[in-house]
Symmetry: D2
Subunit: 126 residues, 4 copies
């Protein structure tokens, strides 16, 4: 697999071959993505931070974690493809936004959330 | 942004510059990922399937969806980097597994879940 | 089972009898709750709205849905118990807040989100 | 608020008064529930276990946690009402099932997952 574009294309073909495009609506894919993120949580939920940090040293747990991460990535790629969203491009934009919002000096070692962006204020949105 | 590797590296630098590596444990990142998947859900939850399918035609909603997808992708990339998981490689493996489990003839147009893989049965796991 | 108080007590006893209180930290329980909410999503994700509305007519699906709802409720009750949160009291407070924010005349038939509460603005929080 | 029945009734009236029943389909409510579970995660995600355990000592964080727990409980109650699921009854059934699956002697202090129930095996489901 060379890149996200190739993954998106193979997922598209996978869906077409099974006539599953009818199920792959944005709403359904967002649900599947959140469901897989929940399964990923389940791999970590009863572990101490130390155990979680060392999870990849256990071959069976590592395989399980890799599998859940793959599921999340697969649904994310499929959703982005269906919506026409460029994953790398949107991540780059968001990272630049975060670099502006969380300047390194102010937020060094801090977990505080930055104030909402001005553009979001008018509607009081998250 | 050229590829996932570059994104992972920029996210690593972003965390280092803010001394945020202490917060970016696998457990915490899995939580952040699931939280962002939940915010993505919120963009679709009250829409009809038709409205959800056309969401990108509304510039404000489209910007919001792109932003939430970016957040999911960012935390997924960061988590995979921290755990040493190859996103494209694990997705390729999973896709091949799914191609075996869901042969196109049997599952054409069907939403049935395939039986659990044999290797998972001994522990009765998902 | 008479009420939430009895459920909370039985869950507490269940945890004590298995020496599981060490795992039932707020953070872990919040993760388990979100994981179960994800499993509940999975019951609905590939269904059309019509199919989802009729899900309880299928005995096997109904049993599955009931089981996932129970899991969410169990972890929610356990988390609230561990944190000392009164579920009914906090829901009553929130409902009253929502009655103020979403006055029936303005929001009739509308999916618009109300502006953030004034008290939340200073920190720009969700 | 006396009990879940009263909460369910008040939520039903709240929806009717705003003509929001059209949005409160099982699928949409399951999404909203998962979204709120994600917001609850966000309250804990960057905290150490110790900080998370003491979260209710901080009045602002406590208010936020209570509010997110209330949101989860509200959507759970609304979903159960729409589906005709008895929350306390289904939790009691599940608790009894868990008491059988996780006998105290075998699972004392253990995080192992019990084998899947026999009845679930035929379909290889979780």
């Amino acid at each position: 697999m060379h890149d996200i574009r190739e993954l998106a294309e193979r997922l598209r073909n996978f869906a077409v071959a099974r006539d599953w495009e009818q199920f792959h609506t944005p709403k359904n894919l967002a649900m599947a993505l959140a469901g897989e993120a929940g399964e990923l949580l389940a791999e970590f939920q009863w572990l101490t931070p130390e155990e979680a940090a060392g999870i990849m040293a256990d071959p069976q747990a590592a395989r399980q974690v890799r599998s859940e991460i793959a599921d999340v990535f697969i649904y994310l790629t499929r959703l982005a493809d269906v919506l026409g969203v460029d994953l790398l491009g949107s991540a780059a934009d968001k990272l630049e936004e975060n670099e502006r919002r969380y300047d390194a000096a102010t937020y060094r070692g801090s977990r505080r959330k930055a104030p909402a962006l001005a553009e979001k204020n008018p509607l009081g949105e998250r």
